[in-house]
Each structure stands twice: as structure tokens, then as C-alpha cells.
Symmetry: D3
Subunit: 160 residues, 6 copies
């Protein structure tokens, strides 16, 4: 791995680094995160009308659309033509927790880690938004890269 | 607090709820989060050229600009005319951790919790982006509301 | 009603007209439209997994989010702080048709007709997008203002 | 053609489907729509200062810029590097109607139907916006795909 | 006037400063700038089809729409509900120069200088874009505030 | 060079011109501009806390992010996948002037002149914004293309 911050030049100044020399290869990134909430909040979104309703769809769309906006949100990210984005939720009843996983692909010159992480963050924040009237103490967290394939640095699989 | 999800109607359908009847009051929200990283990564951004460089400024701007985009990112959020946004970082040497705090104000009909949380998330993701070439195992997390004032539901202070 | 185009000055030049003198009043607009499709396409989205799935939620979110972007899409529209947006769908089996209705509110100096119409158009286009692999001949149409309340010009109810 | 909705997975969940395996080919899409209005409204925009003014240019720019924003408006659309967009208007005096045609090209892995349809819708809404002070009963409609070339599904020409 | 940079805190850190205490007053700002070009380029846009065409309308719309995006472009700008924006061009034949003037109004807690300046810059860049195939040496310049009214700091008129 | 405006069709109508036939080649553009200010304003941003603070970083990020938004700001610009963007400032003490230089690269079918010019303009406007409380008479100007390489029209170097 690199030993310096590639997004800063030798004087510490921010730069959107040149990637034009890199090969355009198939790349994939998988990120995960979670929303921790009161068990009663989790029960509320898993039961009754809410369960059949739009909660998960709203959060999923938030994640997918945010992935497409990543280069507009993260100042030094390169724009990319994402070829796929998916976001999945796993409610963990009894643990007051919803797991979020985003999977993003591209054929391009830079990886899509930031896009996957951004999708997870936005999906988590959207869940927070929909539940905040009943639970202000939720925590969106553990947003991390699980897997990354393609590009010069090769495959990364997070060990947990 | 409410006992149902206010962002879904009685059939579970998503709606951007009417807030026109609410009073426009001064509101503030404070959110926090963190980026956990290898101690060596933290040292890298706290020393040499990086320390005097743009890392914190880039992350701060990412947070401030993301706060202004919240209603474009979170599907059911209302647009708001934020009157101030600030984002601060506290590196915790020895703990491999950077704490992030965002503070947002508005005079309006809804609160700014989502804006503060979004600022923290974007700032954390921007730090991840700048450091990812040296550390792929960072975690952005503990994104949570610390304080909220104003509006009908009154003051909330998180106990920790 | 006016007898000239208010968005052009006396020389025919486009202008975002001054509304600062207008009173900020409660305003509402309701717009409708439809997507016409093969009956078999309609059946597909009303049955099986699709029916329980995200089709309507995706289209609803597309409409709600587009309403918030109206001033970014329609060059001479004023930015507004929408206080509510809702979008509803009525599938009409036997007629190969889905009706769309959007309802938007604001307290402001201009009306929200364009926001309601934009929500309907985006929701219709999103339905088209999701169904286009099975039916390329769908038509998005009949996008029109049904009702408008508030502001100097008063109440308008479309007669049909 | 497909017999299922490609934008939903087997559980009915929304996904931005993988197109990375598709060949990047030259693609074109042509869409049409119309704005129906009072004959007097049409006369107003076809005569005097308005005729020499910015009405058509504003609507054309609205359409071109909206085509570029399609993946930001339609939740499951892929971002694309459009290589051309044009929008034309044909006023039909005596019929109280303006026809709109948009033509979009790309070299890419997915088609540009949605971009062409979105351009037509935005152009129609912009006309509505500029004329709404004199005519609230206009209808934006008949938004449909006329032609599509390129990609695996080949050529489509709408029969009318 | 202030003697320190209000957009930095006491430690030099960027902040979107609190304006919630300020009165919401009527405000106006007028900015000007110019595009300098070869006389032959100016003649080209003032004659033939171009003169009757969309050049000025495209640049005007670019300016108006950019004014609405100011808080998304300038990191520490507050979002504002602009109540009017107009952009005018004065070609100066014989001088190879087009003058641009933008006028923006708001009722709000901060001024609209940045919005007027941004409108001028975007309009100038749009002219550059349309003419660059015939003239690469154009210069967009002299972007400056001419007039400002409203708010605590009162009236400013540039002396020239 | 061309002898007509390529962004208008034969009837003077705006069009985003087809570039699909052009080869995707490596391209670079360098643009410059300046902010002229009172010498005391320049001293203020070059001394004390401001000098060590975020001023340059904020302006740099404004420029980099604006380059990525160019096709959203300039109506007839093509979207492009920029492969690098850098923005540098040279304060000129004694002259009350800051020079700005932006450098943008892409591998694509159109050049990146507009992206480099837009980065300079946004960076200049951001400096104006941060200093406007102490100096309202600043001028952002001399925004011009210095160098352009790649593409059919070949290399351009501005002579000064």
C-alpha cells in the first residue's frame, strides 16, 4: 500500500489525482454498516403497515441515488459511470439493529469503495430519518469496506 | 414521542409530511461521529506536510456542503434555509480515532438533525477517501444526535 | 388572468420575475397524469413479487424528490421551501393505465403548480423506466393541473 | 422482450441492474410529446415580442439540461456520457398544440430512451411554466418513444 | 467594514457563519462583467442566423440557473430563496466586447452579491463555450459588484 | 478553426453537438485567472491565523468541485469523466492580486477547456466570498485558456 496520502500533493494541497494512466478494468466494492435502534423501534418497522410499506424501499433508493452522487459529495472523488448498485437490509430482531450492505460495480480507472460506503451511509441516514420521530438515540455506524476487486491493488477482503 | 413512523401514511406509503402548520422557530442540532483507523494512519495525517495541509479543510467543506444537500440526499427531508453549519475534528492520538462534530442551525418549521448527521457522515467519508490508499480498514461510525433544541418536541440531550 | 407571458420581459427576454412583493401565503397545488401501457404490463406490476415489491415506492420517491428539484429543472422557477409532497398511484386494471396524483404545499410567494406537475412527470417516467424492458410503447401523458389554492389569483379547480 | 421487470430483483426489490457485461455501442433514441393549450395561448407565443424572444430557447435548454440530469431524477437509471442532445418544437397553429421532439445519442452500455423522454417532459413543463399566467389548463402529454437504435435489443420504430 | 475574514473562525477554520440573528430584509445586488473576444467573433454572434438565434438566451439561462445554484458552488454561501434574477448583455461592436449585468433580489438574512457575481461568471462562461470553436483567446473578466442594497451594512455603489 | 458557432444549428438553435464520432484521446487544459483586491485584503489572507487556515483550501475545493459540475452549469457542455483536476494560487504581494491556475485532464471525446475555466471562476468567486466582508471592490477577472492539448484541433498555447 501507499505510504503517503495520495489526495494531497507534496505540499499538502488537495488534488483530484490523475488516474488517466490507469487501466479501465472491471471493479467491484462491497461495503457494510448498521443502524442501531431501540428494539421497539425495530419492531415498529418490521410489523403492521410499515412492514408492508415503503421503509426499505425509501432507504434503498436513498442508497442507490447517493452512490450516483458520490463525486458530488466527496470533494476529491472522480466521477464514474457506475454499472450497477444494489443495497440490502437485514433486520436483526432481538438485537435492535439493521445491517446494511451495498454492492457497486464499474468498469473504470478508479475503484468504487467510496460509492459503496456512501450508499451505506445514505441508506442508514434515511432509516434514521424515517424513525427519528419515535427514537432519537439511534446510531448509524460500522460503515466499512468488506470487499474490493479489480484495479492494480487487487483483491481486498476484510477479515472480521 | 410519536408511536408511529411519521414519514409513512396510514397505508405505509412514503410521504414528505406537511409541516406548514408548525411554527418557524430557532432550531439547533449537534451530531457526532468518528473515523477509526490504524494509529499509523492517524500519525500520518497529524504530521509532516499533511498536518499543515488540506486534510481537515477538505473534510470540513465536505461536511458543510453535504449539510446543504441533505434534502437532496434523504428522500423525505424538507428543504431548509440553514443559517449556520460548522464541523470540527478532534484527533485522538493513541486511540487511532478522529472525532467529528457538526453543529447546524436554522429558523424553520422542521429540525436540523438530519443535516447535522449528514454533515458528520460526509466529513467522515471524505477522511476515509483521503486516507484509503494507506488504510482500507477504517470504519466510519457512531454517527448520532447529541443535542437538539427548538421546535415543539423541545430539547434533547443525549446521555452517554 | 394575465394577457402576456410573465416570464419574458417587454423585449421577449427570459427573466426570473420578482415575487418579493407578493404575500407569503399558504398554497397548494394538485396535479395529475397517467401512464398508458399494455394491459399485460399493468398485470405484471400488479401481481406476483412486483406487486409486493418496490415499483410504486420507487416511482413515489422519484416524484417527491423531483418536486424538490423543480427550480433546478425549470429554468425560470423560483426556489421554494416545500412543506409537503405526496404522490399517489391508482392502477386501472382493464384499461392498461395507471393514474398519478401529486399534491404539494408551501407557504411562500409563488405557487407550487410546477412542483406538482414535475412530481407527476418524474413519477410517470420512473414507471416507464421500470417497465420498459417489457413494453416500449407506453405513453406518459395527461399531465395537468387539477387544483390550486392560495395566492392572489385564488382558487382554480379544473373542470373535466 | 423480457417478461419480467428488470429493475426489480427476484424479491421485488429495486436495483440498478448490472450492465457491465453489455457492449458499449452507438445508441440513439428519439422521443416525442406535446403541450396542448388554448389557441389564444399558442398565438401569444407565436406572435409579437414573444415570437422573437426566448420562449423556445428556454424550453430547449430545459430539455437539454434535463437529459443530462436523467440519472439523478430517475432512481434506477445508469449515468451515461451523452454525446449529443437536441430538442425541437413544432407549433401547430389551429390545433392549440406544440409538438416536442428530443433526440439523444450515446456510445454506451445502456440505451438513452429515458434521457430522450426526460428531455421532452422537461421541455414541455418549461413551456407550461412560461405560459401558465395566461392558461392554467394546458396539458403536457403523449410523451413516448418514437425510435431507438443500437444495443442488443436492436431497432425499435414506433408505429402510429 | 469588518477587519477579519468572517468565514473563518478564530483558528482560521472555515465555517458557514450564523446569520439567524440578522433581520430578513429586502436585498438587491447588481454585478457586472465582460467577455472580451476578437471583433470577428463578436460580429459572428451579432449577425446572420446566430443573431436571431439562441446565443443570448443560452447565456442568460446559464446565468439565471447558476444564481440558483450559488450555495452549491461556493462552499460557505448560505442557501437563499431568490425572488428574482435577470441577466442582460450589451454587445459593444468595435470593441470586441460583450458586457454582462446580473441583478438578483431576495428577502433574507444575507445579501445576494455572490448570486449576482455567479450569474455573471456563468453567463460569461456560456458565451465562451458557444464561441470557443472560432476563438480560443477570449477572456472572461471584470466580474465585480456594482451595487448592493439592504441589510445591516447598507447601500454600496461602486465608483468607476 | 471553425467559422461558425458549432453549438447552434443552421437555424441558430442551441444544440449539444454530436461528438460520438470523435476519437477518445488524452486531453488537457490549463486556464488562469485572478482576483484583484486591496493590498490590505491580500495581507489579511497572507498573515496570522488566516494564512495557516482554510482560505486556500476552501477556494481550491470550490474549483475542483465546480470542474466536476461544469456540464450542469454550462448548458451545452458534454458530461465528461475527468481524470484529474488541480487548482493552484499564487498571491502577488505588493500587487493586491492572487493568480489562479487550474489544470484538468480527461480521456474523452471533447476537450476540457470549459472545466478548467469553470474551476478558475469558482475558485475566484470563493475567494471573493471569504473576503467580501472586508473588501467589496474585488474583481475576478482575466479568466482565460492558457494551454490545450489533445483532440483533432491539436495543441494551443496562449501567447502573452
Amino acid at each position: 500500500m501507499s505510504e503517503r496520502l495520495t489526495h494531497l500533493d507534496e505540499n499538502g494541497k488537495a488534488v483530484m489525482v490523475e488516474v488517466g494512466e490507469k487501466a479501465a478494468t472491471g471493479r467491484i466494492a462491497v461495503a457494510r454498516g448498521e443502524v442501531r435502534m431501540k428494539e421497539s423501534t425495530l419492531q415498529l418497522i418490521m410489523s403492521g403497515e410499515a412492514a408492508k410499506g415503503d421503509v426499505w424501499a425509501v432507504a434503498r433508493i436513498a442508497g442507490i441515488m447517493a452512490a450516483k452522487k458520490t463525486s458530488d459529495l466527496i470533494p476529491l472523488c472522480h466521477p464514474l459511470l457506475l454499472t450497477s448498485v444494489s443495497v440490502e437490509f437485514t433486520p436483526c430482531p432481538g438485537q435492535g439493529r439493521v445491517e446494511i450492505e451495498a454492492r457497486v460495480r464499474v468498469t473504470g480507472q478508479t475503484g468504487v469503495e467510496m460509492e459503496a460506503l456512501t450508499a451505506v451511509a445514505a441508506a442508514g441516514l434515511a432509516i434514521y430519518d424515517m424513525c427519528k420521530a419515535v427514537d432519537r438515540e439511534m446510531v448509524v455506524g460500522e460503515i466499512r469496506l468488506m470487499e474490493k476487486r479489480g484495479g492494480k491493488s487487487g483483491t481486498f477482503i476484510r477479515e472480521e
